[in-house]
């Protein structure tokens, strides 16, 4: 069963003085199955951040439908959006978005506190997650005292602690060095193995190569996707690179689009 359905999603920005309209998303349609690990790739300006903001209910689409577990986002009342996000979505940001006035522990507790959970339940929930992410010893520290990778792991813990239906990650490795990136991607794989559905937006081939499926966005449209099948991470990396090379070669762009659709169609 599809956990997330996106159909004909459209987002148009109007420039400040009216007149010019910029189409960030033209017509995006895809779906994510329960337990899947999907990466969305695209270059800067391809509309992937806009897409993620809409999926995280931080922004509203101009047209089209987003459904999570069959719940249409546009039907949720404005006042309930934050609560909906808190209960169903876990978001990991590129720049961590940890509050510097809280210790890591309190940062992780924040969504639970907002949900009105009791403190004893919070610590019960945190223990296994902190163990898995290897931050048990860091919980009492403050964001300014730990490294970027550690911050991001805390942010992941914050995203996971509400047991969300879907974890959204916006360029989660963007601010990390390569070691921290490896570690984080390994953790994402592990979390996914445990059954957590993950949707990650990235322009890093490396990050995308860990996913089970990669969607390519260009000029506001999904025009290609690759399934892992039985490929290893390295083979996946190669495949993605090849696809990107092919896509960025001007002459092959039409063919590529056609080929991608054909491939995608065959596999699903």
């Amino acid at each position: 069963m599809s956990i997330l359905e996106v159909d004909g999603l459209k987002k148009t920005y109007t420039t400040r003085f009216g007149g010019n309209k910029v189409e960030a998303l033209k017509k995006v349609s895809f779906s994510v199955e329960e337990g899947e690990y999907v990466a969305i790739m695209g270059e800067s300006g391809s509309g992937k951040t806009t897409l993620l903001n809409i999926l995280a209910a931080l922004d509203k689409p101009t047209g089209g439908v987003v459904k999570l577990d069959g719940w249409d986002f546009s039907k949720i009342k404005e006042s309930a959006v934050a609560a909906f996000r808190r209960d169903n979505l876990g978001v990991v940001f590129q720049d961590f978005n940890l509050l510097d006035t809280f210790s890591l522990e309190d940062n992780i507790y924040l969504p639970l506190v907002l949900a009105g959970k009791h403190h004893s339940e919070m610590s019960l929930r945190l223990a296994p997650i902190a163990m898995q992410l290897g931050i048990t010893d860091l919980l009492k520290k403050y964001p300014y005292e730990v490294s970027g990778g550690q911050k991001q792991r805390a942010a992941v813990a914050r995203a996971l602690i509400t047991n969300p239906r879907l974890v959204l990650a916006d360029e989660p490795t963007g601010a990390l060095d390569s070691n921290a990136m490896e570690e984080l991607l390994r953790l994402f794989g592990e979390i996914n193995q445990n059954g957590q559905t993950i949707l990650m937006v990235t322009h890093s081939v490396k990050a995308a190569s860990h996913a089970g499926r990669v969607l390519f966005i260009r000029d506001g449209e999904v025009f290609h996707q690759i399934y892992r099948g039985n490929n290893t991470n390295e083979q996946m990396y190669q495949k993605i690179s090849d696809t990107l090379t092919m896509l960025t070669t001007k002459t092959s762009w039409q063919e590529g689009k056609l080929a991608g659709k054909a491939e995608g169609g065959r596999k699903s």
Binding site: S79, P111, L114
Partner: protein, 701 residues
């Protein structure tokens, strides 16, 4: 082109930071305006021509130095806010290739512009408002009002001089900071990674202990003289404690709340408490300053308002009757002499003659002639007394070693003015019917209490106190002094005072003074009363000179009417100064509040953005902001209220020294002052919080 480059950059810098610069310039204007007004009043001819005006002008002179010092401190404070926020901009200029020298040039222009605007605005508004101030003051002094607008050239020059120096100092301070800093420091000065504040329990507890002690002192002090002495100690302790409590105590309390997990991990408390820790660390000093300024305004305004409103009370205590005669002599036989009857007759005749005269001393019209003889002495005060100052200890009154002790601060609290009055005079005045055996006395005290039931005069004569009486007539000497007075009513005055007769102080004057007090009220206008007083004065001096003045008689003749203007000058001046300084302090408090709100707005902006992303609803964010802002904002007012409540007993005792005994008046005035102030404070809150929300929201959208 090159010439206007720097002025242009400077102007742009000011314009782009107008949210910060406008209040700064307004602060400068306000200070310059207040300074000009006070300087103007200090030199105003109109004021000088009004009775009491000269006293008032002296007070304005004191006010001038207070305002100068305060302006300097306060403008430094606001300027530091500006500098902190602008360093980033300067860092950028620096990296883009501007040298420190170029930056300095921009800064010089900026200072010129802001100082110029402040001074120009301040002087213009000062000149406009100085007329209102003058009118207000003339009104306080009950003088004639004129509506001529004048410009005090001297005051203008003085304002320009002092504020130029202040602005120059500010510029030098800024230049020095820029000079010291490296470009990278400048760029990042705004958001250096901040450690979570640690609770400094030692300082917090010290603050609580000091405040507790100060409060205890304020409540437990009984003697007005002690109140006077300890008031300043208490003030300093309270200031210190307020800073300690706001800076360390608040953090400690937040930390304590964080430790209580069941309290802390609640939606309403979680974000508020954790941000409060940082907020208090950054703003503790500012909030404490606001609190102290508020308390100062409240104590000052309510104290001086009490004095002013109670001027008539004070006048009445100092001059118990409209006209007060005091005839004194060195030898006791005077008390039994016939002088009194002669004086009484003289007074009667003088009133009869003068009572019907108009203000020019003529028997003007029929009406006055018809009223001749109607003006009578009423409410007559007529008693004999022997008075001396003494050092009272353990039921004994010492007079001989008093001279040495007089200059020791401690002995002040044990010094008393002693009046020995024949009990028959007491009976006559109070309509009582007391009889005493020799060696017995009735006791009445002012300002303090005497607890022993015997009293020994100079180690020789011991009087048994039969009872303490609740009241006696007011006495000008008592009203003038800060030491308490003790009245002993005795059946045999000459006998009681005999051991003191020969004593002299170390300055050679007799310890004992023998007085006959004769005072009376008149139901005629002040001018007529003054005439009567003058006439009496002349007649008395003639009479005493012509009489065989073997007893060394001296006299004084005082009238309330003649002194009224001086009293209004003094108390009105204090009140007016209280209001003016109150305005200055309130102005400062408002600005500190405003800057605090603005700078917090910038700091909170990103924080609340994150919270919304993580799943806080708009409503929750707003609630959290509200509770924090309200706490931060009203904590100083609340503390100021508590300070005022505890300062009240001290204030009340000190007002007692100014002969103000009307407790209801003091409480009423203080409460009204607090309410007006609270109302004003809320108004300021409404206005400044709008700026804050604007900033926070502009980030969130």
């Amino acid at each position: 082109m090159k010439k206007i480059f720097y002025p242009r950059l400077a102007w742009m810098g000011i314009w782009k930071n107008k949210r910060l610069y406008i209040p700064y310039i307004l602060a400068g204007m306000g200070m310059a305006m207040m300074f000009y007004i006070v300087a103007f009043l200090n030199t105003s001819e109109v004021l000088l021509s009004i009775p009491g005006g000269n006293i008032l002008q002296e007070m304005m002179g004191m006010g001038l130095s207070v305002i100068t010092v305060f302006s300097l401190l306060f403008l430094f404070y606001t300027n530091s806010f500006l500098n902190r926020r602008r360093k980033k901009e300067f860092g950028l200029y620096n990296i883009l290739g501007m040298g420190k020298w170029n930056l300095a040039r921009i800064l010089v222009w900026e200072s010129l512009i802001s100082a110029g605007l402040s001074l120009a605005g301040g002087l213009v508004s000062g000149i406009v408002f100085s007329k209102f101030a003058e009118l207000g003051m003339v009104n306080l002094l009950h003088g004639e009002i004129t509506f001529l607008l004048t410009i005090g050239t001297k005051a203008v020059i003085e304002t320009l001089k002092r504020f130029s120096v202040i602005f120059l100092l500010l510029l030098l301070c800024t230049l020095w900071q820029i000079h010291k800093a490296s470009p990278m420091e400048l760029l990042h000065s705004e958001n250096a990674g901040e450690k979570p504040p640690r609770a400094n329990w030692l300082l917090a507890l010290a603050g609580a202990a000091i405040l507790g002690t100060a409060y205890y002192m304020a409540v437990s002090i009984k003697e007005p003289v002690d109140a006077m002495l300890w008031f300043f100690v208490a003030v300093i302790m309270v200031i210190l404690a307020t800073y300690l409590l706001f800076i360390a105590g608040s953090v400690a309390i937040c930390r304590l709340l964080q430790k209580n997990k069941n309290y802390y991990y609640k939606t309403n408390h979680f974000v508020s408490v954790s941000s409060m820790v940082y907020r208090m660390k950054r703003n503790g000093a500012g909030l404490a300053s606001i609190c102290i300024l508020c308390t100062m305004v409240l104590v000052m305004v309510s104290g001086t308002a009490c004095l002013y409103i109670g001027t008539e009370d004070g006048l009445r205590s100092r001059y118990p009757r409209n006209i007060n005669l005091d005839i004194s002599a060195g030898s006791p036989e005077f008390l039994e002499s016939g002088t009194f009857d002669a004086v009484r007759e003289l007074v009667r005749r003088t009133i009869e003659e003068q009572g019907a005269l108009d203000a020019h001393g003529k028997l003007s019209d029929e009406k006055n002639t018809a009223e001749k003889g109607k003006t009578k002495a009423e409410n007559i005060l007529d008693y004999r007394t022997a008075e001396f100052a003494g050092y009272v200890d353990d039921g004994k009154i010492y007079t001989d070693d008093f001279g040495e002790l007089a200059f020791q601060v401690r002995s002040y609290a044990k010094s008393w003015q002693i009046f020995v009055v024949p009990v028959e005079d007491y009976n006559d005045l109070m309509g009582a019917d007391e009889t005493l055996e020799p060696g017995e006395a009735l006791l009445y005290t002012t300002k303090s209490e005497y607890e022993k039931d015997t009293v020994t005069l100079n180690g020789e004569k011991t009087l048994k106190i039969k009872k303490v009486v609740p009241d006696f007539v007011d006495n000008g000497v008592d009203a003038m002094q800060i030491i308490p007075s003790m009245y002993l009513f005795v059946p045999d005055l000459p006998e009681v005072i005999s051991p003191l007769e020969e004593l002299v102080t170390d300055r050679g004057t007799p310890v004992l003074g023998l007085h006959w007090i004769y005072g009376f009220d008149l139901d005629c206008k002040d001018e007529v009363q003054i005439q009567i007083q003058d006439q009496l004065h002349t007649a008395l001096s003639q009479m005493l000179e012509s009489a065989e003045n073997s007893m060394g008689l001296a006299f004084s003749c005082e009238g309330a009417a003649k002194e009224r203007a001086g009293f209004y000058g003094l108390y009105g001046g204090l009140f007016f100064l209280g209001i003016l300084l109150g305005i200055v302090f309130v102005f400062a408090a408002v600005l500190i509040i405003y800057y605090k709100q603005i700078s917090e707005g910038y700091e909170d902006q990103s924080r609340f953005e994150i919270m919304q992303k993580v799943g806080m609803t708009q409503k929750e964010v707003r609630q959290s902001i509200n509770s924090q802002v309200l706490t931060v904002f009203f904590l100083p007012l609340f503390m100021a209220g508590v300070h005022l409540a505890f300062a009240f007993p001290l204030m009340q005792k000190m007002l007692l020294l100014f002969s103000l005994t009307n407790m209801k008046l003091i409480i009423g005035v203080t409460v009204v002052c607090f309410l007006i102030f609270a109302l004003f404070y809320m108004l300021v809150y409404r206005i400044t919080s709008r700026g804050y929300y604007h900033i926070v929201r502009s980030g969130a959208d």
